[in-house]
């Protein structure tokens, strides 16, 4: 048997313990008579060992404290969330107590589709989505809204940077998939108000609901527009609103865990 009978791939598989027993035995017999074959096999053994030795220190390096803290927190929250879900398979539906009208559910189901379509465009799209009445919804930049969603506590307001819009946080809750959601309103210069819900999917906020309410001067959307919202919240099985302390904790964790 000559050395050309063994391809590099076979030699590598031998070095990595991935070669079948018969071929291995044949190779070992050939190596007894062929020094060059031995050195070719040795190359694969040595490179494996060298790579391992070189990368070992990275494993021994202490983990950055922020990283392990963030992951431990994440795991803790996730396991708690999961066990709560299994204890309470039917969490009380009520992001707020304004709604209970079950007959609204079918309406809500059809609404979700429509508004989710608009909402997806709103947050990510850079352009302007003009809803009726000339309200420039997309005038809110994604990052300004992201920032407001992660920082403004329920009941508080903030002027969105570089705009004449005011952001107002109404409630924070979890939907039926335990995703973190925030109900909020944005007042525009033309006095109309957008009533919205944004939920956290992965690392970003996604507006899942948005409805334009006719403006009233003091801010706060009129009750008629919130009926639609109520129906929507019922349809997504929104959990009870988080208490202020819990909300503060969740939002602060969110800010810490969001890269940059």
């Amino acid at each position: 048997m000559t050395k050309t009978d063994f391809s590099d791939e076979i030699l590598m598989r031998y070095a990595d313990g991935e070669l079948d027993a018969d071929t291995s035995a044949a190779l070992e017999r050939a190596m007894e008579l062929d020094d060059e074959l031995v050195s070719r096999v040795a190359l694969f053994i040595e490179t494996r060992a060298a790579a391992q030795t070189t990368m070992k220190p990275l494993l021994d390096e202490p983990l950055p404290a922020e990283l392990s803290a963030a992951v431990e927190k994440m795991v803790k929250e996730k396991t708690q969330g999961a066990s709560e879900a299994s204890v309470l398979p039917f969490p009380p539906r009520a992001a707020n107590n304004r709604r209970a009208n079950r007959w609204l559910a079918p309406i809500a189901a059809s609404l979700v589709v429509v508004v989710a379509g608009i909402g997806g465009y709103w947050l990510r799209g850079g352009g302007e989505a003009v809803l009726d009445g000339g309200l420039h919804v997309a005038g809110i930049s994604g990052s300004a809204l992201d920032d407001a969603l992660a920082t403004v506590a329920t009941g508080e307001e903030r002027q969105l940077p570089d705009s004449n819009q005011r952001f107002r946080a109404i409630a924070t809750f979890r939907d039926n998939a335990q995703a973190l959601c925030r109900e909020f309103e944005v007042d525009s210069a033309d006095r109309s108000t957008v009533v919205s819900v944004a939920c956290r999917t992965g690392a970003e906020w996604r507006v899942t609901f948005a409805v334009v309410a006719p403006g009233v001067s003091g801010g706060y959307a009129p009750a008629s527009s919130t009926e639609t919202l109520d129906a929507y919240l019922m349809a997504i099985d929104a959990g009870p609103p988080l208490e202020a302390a819990e909300e503060a904790q969740v939002l602060s964790h969110l800010r810490e865990s969001t890269p940059r």
Binding site: E9, L43, K78
Partner: protein
Amino acid sequence: MSGAVKDVGERLIAFLPNLRRFAISLCGSRDIADDLVQAACERALASAERFEPGTRFDAWMFRILRNLWIDQVRKRKTMGVQDDISERQDIAGAHGEREAEARLTLNTVAEAIADLPNEQREVLLLVCVEELSYREAADVLGVPIGTVMSRLARARKNLAEAAGITATTTRSQVMKDVKE
């Protein structure tokens, strides 16, 4: 369901050093790697039910992390980052206490690994460093097992050449002695 999340969570914490090492060698920067590891953990916890008990957890995590990295590269088109020398040395860096001679040798191998084309480096890391089988590496990378083998063979040839790894004389000498 809570069982799956708990299981994945526990393994995740124990596995962080390996995951981080793989991330650093993928993206060549500790800062980016740490963000990447965190994102991968988030993703793993969110899809904990999809982890099949009995399969290799490390392979599953490597796949999640690598897919996230590819997404990021696609999105930000920051492939160039990897060719930045200061970033690249991150792989070898931060263990200056080692004696000079040893560091010299090790850094050469580290640099050679960092210099490998991405597709060769990742397969080298999965098989030779993390000790996945060819089959497992193929699953992580989403390529046929034959591709794993050809990339891996090329990676090791390149590594040996760049780092001057020659086992030739000593090895054959040993074998010769045994034989005679």
